[in-house]
Symmetry: C2
């Protein structure tokens, strides 16, 4: 099963290596990883998507907890969660095809963020399926370059991934 | 100086650890990291933001080139680049404050993606300054949780970060 883990860590050099290393040593390929600071500047939050057997993921989670600078790990795969990623897509565009591309962009509530004589850059957000769908629809025009952020996730409603007070 | 590196790698376990490890061993703190697949499913692209002396970054880049599974590194800090990240923000919201929050969301062309009796979840995209600005404006309402993707970047215009044909 696919798991989405929210990993809160101290924002210090090396912690990312230790977390990624733990998955690598067990042969897990991290499908998606996004790292950014939280509302507390010295605390980072990683969103890690890995595919693996539930029991093995549980073991890995326990080992993650033992790592220096790791504050908290929450598996939010089971919860009702909002999942989003951002993608920038550079697509070939001639004057003749620009309006057709523009229509696709509107349908997906995406944005054109750069216009050049022969290319457009499109910014889109959504869950994985939506991002895949817009890439597929733009393929016939000629995709030049794609860069994706990896997924972030947050539980719906008022529930939060809490940081213990003493860690803040 | 702050550097934004686009690192193309094969999509295999361990490559992330090796890349992150190289930065950690030199004491660099990775400020932001985003990893996702590219237009070629077996090739991933990492966007790494690090702060460091130009000469040292150049040395690190040379060492990255020598790593197994690393295909290409491009420093796009100097180029005219589009920089974007995505943030999900859970904010406290009562019926009385909801319309005020909604106005801020509209100004930033952000989206409300979840509504609960006492909270809202907002999705916003932009460069770092814009993301910081919306977080600051929402602070007085009570921020419950923030998750950010880290930055992705793409050079403006038709220029692309090319993958050598034999690697594809």
């Amino acid at each position: 099963m696919r798991h989405t883990l929210a990993v809160l860590t101290e924002n210090t050099p090396g912690v990312l290596t230790r977390v990624a290393g733990l998955f690598a040593r067990r042969g897990f390929n991290i499908e998606s990883l996004a790292v950014g600071v939280t509302e507390h500047p010295h605390i980072s939050r990683m969103t890690v998507v890995v595919d693996g057997d539930d029991r093995v993921i549980e073991q890995v989670t326990k080992q993650l907890h033992k790592l220096i600078n790791v504050i908290k790990i929450t598996d939010i795969s089971e919860d009702q969660a909002i999942e989003r990623e951002l993608v920038l897509i550079k697509v070939s565009a001639e004057p003749a095809t620009r309006s057709e591309i523009s229509e696709i962009v509107n349908i997906f509530r995406a944005k054109i963020v750069d216009v050049a004589p022969k290319t457009l850059v499109i910014e889109a957000t959504g869950d994985e399926d939506k991002v895949e769908a817009i890439i597929q629809l733009l393929k016939p025009f000629g995709i030049r370059e794609v860069v994706r952020t990896g997924k972030v996730a947050m539980v719906r409603g008022s529930k939060v991934v809490k940081i213990a007070e003493e860690a803040v």
